[in-house]
């Protein structure tokens, strides 16, 4: 086994130094009846070539339709990952390092986190960002928990029904033991936007936070300003989930529209869709809520010689110090995925970010014009709902396309509609061919 340096002679030498007669006897502290007296029933070991050959065959089973012909978003947006990103991620000083608890040996990771936090603040228009979370849905649940801590005594969390269904589900799972009530607010069947009147009615003096997505699960950009005003009128918080972070290159950020918290998925930058994980959960807030943030924070300071240095900070919020009174139980986060996003955003830069966002908007606008049958009138970025039933999707699949996500499963009244996502991966030729397949 190439990962085991020890030869039999090495093992004998070490055993004799320890004074143990055999490897088995090193486990003497485990009572005999608790030990496994048979080999594990697993396949025999294989060599590297056979491994990659077999896994390669398994991986190919996911490529019957290549990404350029898959028009799916719904929380995971397919974008080109520049080669430079992966080359840098493979610097093993990054990927084989642990959490930077020893700052003198981890300034690279720490400075990259500091840069990540800065980029998240720039994108969201908010003051502070943590060092990352697992994904958008868990970040959304943490937002609800933060608000319930901050508005102690209030028991209500208001969710837009147009928020990503998984985000809603994860909020419910995380709040299962909290005693908090989750209230759903419907969306306007014409615009696809959260119904402003229903939202105003749902918010009261018991409401800790209002959570909505923008663009929401139907691809529609919400009226965040109005929702913020409604929430603030009751002294509740507004949290905005952004599942497609690239939209922040073109759209006013939640922080500029009155949101108190912005969170979601940053995987569009530098991370492949990898069957849904790992991506990057981001979490940003106003300065006033800093001490309630979940997760790690990296701060700038100086070393003993007065040189600029970075270190994990404000950790008295965290589980390893505060234990049962911590703001969250999160320990490991998604640091390497956050690094991938940081690198991709650095490569795009000021001009590239806007251009990529515009490109997505334009390709999607063209797709809307040729696919037709747009379901909602509300404004969209790179994802939108169309009327396309199961038969149309099956026709498209026959022509080699995954044309979108059937929405009936999430919203029975939208049976016969599909959610279509168009990014820079989808060029005009494929969009036209998809339109043709859906039509015929």
């Amino acid at each position: 086994m190439r990962y085991h340096p020890h030869t039999d002679a090495d093992v004998r030498r070490l055993l004799s130094a320890i004074g143990a007669p055999s490897l088995d006897l090193l486990f003497d502290s485990i009572p005999a009846p608790l030990r496994l007296e048979r080999p594990l029933r697993l396949p025999p070991p294989i060599d590297e070539h056979a491994l990659l050959d077999q896994l390669g065959a398994l991986a190919e089973k996911n490529r019957a339709v290549p990404p350029e012909r898959v028009f799916l978003g719904a929380g995971a947006y397919p974008h080109h990952v520049p080669s430079a990103v992966d080359q840098l991620l493979l610097r093993s000083e990054f990927y084989t390092a642990y959490t930077p608890y020893q700052p003198e040996l981890a300034q690279g990771t720490l400075q990259a986190i500091f840069e990540y936090q800065t980029l998240v603040c720039l994108l969201t228009g908010l003051d502070v960002s943590n060092a990352s979370m697992y994904d958008g849905a868990t970040a959304c649940a943490e937002a609800a928990l933060l608000a319930l801590r901050l508005r102690r005594g209030r028991r209500k969390v208001v969710l837009s029904r147009a928020l990503h269904p998984s985000y809603r589900d994860v909020v419910r799972s995380y709040l299962a033991a909290s005693g908090a009530e989750v209230v759903l607010v419907s969306f306007d069947p014409k615009t696809g936007r959260t119904d402003p009147d229903a939202l105003a009615r749902a918010i009261d003096g018991q409401t800790a936070i209002v959570l909505l997505g923008s663009p929401n699960f139907l691809g529609v950009v919400e009226d965040v300003r109005k929702a913020a005003d409604a929430a603030h009128a009751a002294d509740a918080l507004l949290g905005v989930a952004v599942t497609e972070a690239l939209s922040l290159g073109l759209l006013q950020p939640p922080g500029a529209l009155g949101a108190d918290l912005a969170f979601g998925e940053l995987g569009s930058f530098g991370n492949g869709t990898t069957f849904g994980g790992p991506g990057v959960g981001f979490f940003a807030a106003r300065e006033a809520h800093l001490r309630q943030l979940p997760g790690r924070l990296c701060g700038e300071t100086v070393d003993a010689d007065g040189r600029r240095a970075y270190v994990l900070t404000l950790s008295t919020r965290e589980q390893h110090i505060r234990r049962q009174a911590a703001t969250s139980n999160i320990c490991t986060n998604h640091a390497l995925c956050a690094l991938a996003s940081t690198i991709h955003l650095a490569l795009l830069g000021k001009a590239g970010l806007r251009e990529l966002a515009l490109l997505n908007f334009r390709r999607a606008a063209y797709a809307r014009s040729v696919l037709g049958r747009r379901r909602f009138a509300g404004p969209v970025f790179n994802e939108f709902a169309i009327e396309a039933d199961a038969a149309a999707l099956a026709r498209a699949r026959k022509a080699g396309f995954v044309a979108g996500l059937p929405l009936g499963r999430y919203y029975p009244e939208l049976d016969g509609c599909s959610l279509v996502c168009v990014t820079e991966l989808h060029d005009r030729v494929r969009i036209d061919a998809l339109a043709e397949a859906l039509r015929s």
Binding site: Y3, P33, L36, Q111, S129
Partner: protein
């Protein structure tokens, strides 16, 4: 320099560059991305979106070319220490070599680019891998069902405790308390709170393990479960596990196993055979998926049959297709489930890496891995017993915990020892944890360190113990050979600077 540190890891010095932050550099218009032409008719965002919803370019974003960005991150990487740089004996964190073949496997295009919402028939490869990994983890842990959804150990704990809560609730009473030994990771009590339980601490006995009598004393009808790490954070096997399980079960309570240290047992013993009801595993520990400077991890949960109905949705199920071929489906229809824990299905990229290593190891390789991890830990213990205080004499499995008790007499702390070890070219051990050992130095060499590497680490630690005797004050200044010296943590917390701002 190397003369001052004769026990250094070879090559423990070199050129290091200063590197400024990404921001406020470069030149207007410069960028490092290659974007296609739109190739479609012009479309004005203002025709779709109200002007008040549109933003212009973001002030403060970097304006750099690709070579500049690449150089920036390469330079940052040079300030880091990874497992590929040298030994990383962080106890409980299990910093072992991360196989390159696993990295290659995760990068296969059919894995890296698969969309999570693909129709089931178009992602059979991904679902099959998940199913096969679940079966392998069940065999290794001795359980009957598993979920791969949790993102990391702490979320695995949450998954487990929410299942425990649902299990008790289905029997009429979710109960109120979770017992947590004093040697536990901080995530255990934090998770108990999150799952709506009061964490009740149980003191370990004089030889470092949980005593059945202490459990019996704390046990009443309000106790939902005990969370036990086995082997515990002292590296000692909780030999009373079966008796404790029986005590809990008698009162209708459950035994949760924190699997952070499963790497000591895999192939040798199985928690499922010890009376444990459910556990999480850390794929980033036992199965060597990289820690990535803090994540991502993966924290699957394996359970005994009575808990299976409560697993998060969806689960992966194997059925037969029309032609009798295996077909894998996501099962959302599980009425007793605790619900969903992730946006999608879990950290698939980590599943691929762990699965690849399980296939490379095979059954005998898994057992040998645990044996060599325990051998290395015991060898390190032997080499250091003369230099450091060993607070618990019980047999060590995969890690050993010393303390700074002897060095304290000379005014030298565990922190000083850790920082000086950096000067010798090694990553420090975990310090000040577990909390039951004042001034703890928790060392876990793992199986991928050679005997010579363990010896070199021990020689450096022995030299530090000698330096503490001869010249203790010098240790307070360590480290001296790193890009920065000890950092001012108080200032970082009192005057938080958490982001770059223009004009600073």
């Amino acid at each position: 320099m190397s003369d001052r540190f004769p026990n250094s890891s070879p090559g423990a010095s070199g050129l290091q560059f200063r590197e400024e932050v990404l921001f406020g550099r470069g030149s207007p218009g410069r960028r490092g991305a290659s974007l296609p032409e739109a190739g479609v008719p012009e479309a004005d965002p203002a025709s779709e979106l109200p002007p008040e919803l549109l933003r212009s370019e973001i002030e403060g974003m970097p304006e750099l070319s690709e070579p500049e960005v690449v150089r920036h991150f390469v330079r940052l990487s040079q300030w880091n220490y990874g497992i590929d740089s040298g030994p990383y004996p962080l106890g409980s964190c299990t910093m072992k070599y991360n196989p390159k073949s696993s990295e290659a496997a995760a990068r296969l295009p059919g894995f890296a680019s698969a969309h999570p919402m693909l129709p089931e028939e178009d992602c059979q490869g991904a679902l099959q891998l998940g199913f096969d990994l679940e079966r392998a983890l069940c065999e290794i842990t001795g359980f009957s069902a598993a979920t791969l959804q949790p993102a990391a150990g702490a979320q695995g704990e949450l998954c487990g405790l929410l299942m425990i809560r649902a299990y008790h609730a289905a029997r009429g009473n979710p109960r109120k308390k979770v017992l947590v030994p004093d040697s536990a990771h901080g995530t255990n009590p934090a998770t108990a709170t999150l799952a709506g339980y009061q964490a009740v601490e149980i003191a370990s006995g004089p030889d470092g393990v949980v005593e059945p009598a202490a459990v019996a004393k704390a046990l009443d009808g309000d106790v939902a479960a005990l969370m036990m790490t086995n082997p515990n954070t002292l590296g000692i096997f909780e030999r009373n596990v079966r008796e404790i399980a029986a005590l809990l079960h008698e009162k209708g309570a459950l035994l949760y196993n924190d699997g952070a240290n499963l790497n000591a047992l895999a192939g040798v013993a199985r928690p499922g055979d010890m009376g444990v009801d459910l556990m999480h595993l850390n794929l980033h520990k036992t199965f060597a998926t990289p820690h990535g400077g803090g994540g991502p991890g993966s924290g699957p949960v394996a359970v005994a049959e009575p808990l299976a109905p409560f697993l998060p949705v969806p689960t992966i199920r194997k059925t037969l297709g029309d032609g009798g071929e295996a077909r894998y489906v996501l099962d959302h229809d599980r009425p007793q489930s605790i619900g969903r824990l992730r946006t999608f299905w879990g950290n698939f990229g980590m599943w691929v890496r762990a699965y690849a290593l399980i296939r490379e190891w095979g059954p005998e390789g898994i057992r040998r891995t645990a044996q060599l991890a325990v051998l290395n830990a015991n060898y390190l213990r032997k080499l250091l017993e003369g230099s450091y205080h060993l607070p618990y004499a019980a047999a060590s499995l995969h890690e050993v915990v010393f303390s700074d008790k002897r060095q304290k007499a000379r005014g030298v702390s565990a922190l000083d020892v850790a920082k000086r070890l950096i000067d010798h070219g090694f990553h420090p051990p975990t310090i000040y944890f577990p909390l039951v050992v004042p001034g703890a130095l928790m060392l876990e060499p793992t199986e991928t360190e050679s005997p010579e590497s363990v010896e070199a680490l021990a020689a450096a630690l022995t030299a530090i113990a000698a330096e503490a005797e001869e010249n203790p004050d010098a240790l307070h200044a360590a480290p001296t050979r790193t890009v920065v010296r000890r950092v001012d943590e108080v200032r970082a917390a009192r005057q938080p600077v958490l982001r770059w701002r223009p004009g600073r």
